[in-house]
Symmetry: C2
Subunit: 102 residues, 2 copies
DNA sequence: TCATTGAATGAAGTATAAATCATATGATAG
DNA sequence: CTATCATATGATTTATACTTCATTCAATGA
């Protein structure tokens, strides 16, 4: 798959599962599919499908180690991206008073 | 709607239409629904639905001007967010050689 | 007050993406 | 070369999001 537009990249990040995978890789370093499977308690094939999409837009990298494939996060992009959202939420989406509700 | 997780915010940005709206507001400043409708050639109600989602996570702000509702972009978040993706694509997703293909 | 204009809402149909299952590939060990 | 383990792939089902249409609401002006 070739990603052409901004929304394609955001689409890959719009899945709770994939965000969890990225957060795991970010916190605990590189993992192979089986390790992710065991820690997140999801099917192997679901993870492979997710990794393919994450890889497709280079949010992760992969390296072969024998039969395993070890995935690592692209911190250069993901960390500042997540930080931006975190700051945005803090600035605009935490209701300290009752100014907005929906 | 209350957004709770990273992926909720990315989901809102995962639509080509909504990204176009944000880019329009970013380039040309605040617009009311009718102006967006005319420039992007989409249905009024489709835009209203999109604006609701964009508003829900504060990617845009709204102000009443008579019968019109004028939407403006939250530049503080959107500009750095889009810049990050732009830089990421430049760094990782432009093939200068034939190292990867999918 | 009633008609008009701009926009929001809700429900229905339609399109897209995710979850699951079965199977295939590819590396290693025996 | 065969069996096994790790992962990938493709097809199908299932869930989610988008589009569209009809209707409603809210503000203004006659």
């Amino acid at each position: 798959m070739i990603y052409t537009s901004f929304n394609d990249f955001f689409a890959v990040l719009s899945s709770k599962q994939r965000v969890k995978i990225l957060q795991l890789l970010n916190r605990e370093g590189p993992h192979c599919v089986n390790q992710i499977k065991n820690k997140l308690k999801v099917e192997q094939s679901a993870i492979s499908h997710d990794m393919k999409r994450l890889l497709g837009c280079r949010f992760v990298f992969v390296e072969r180690k024998g039969k395993e494939r070890v995935y690592s996060i692209n911190k250069t992009t993901i960390q500042p991206l997540f930080n931006l959202i975190r700051e945005h939420v803090e600035a605009h989406c935490v209701r300290k008073d009752d100014k907005w509700n929906d």
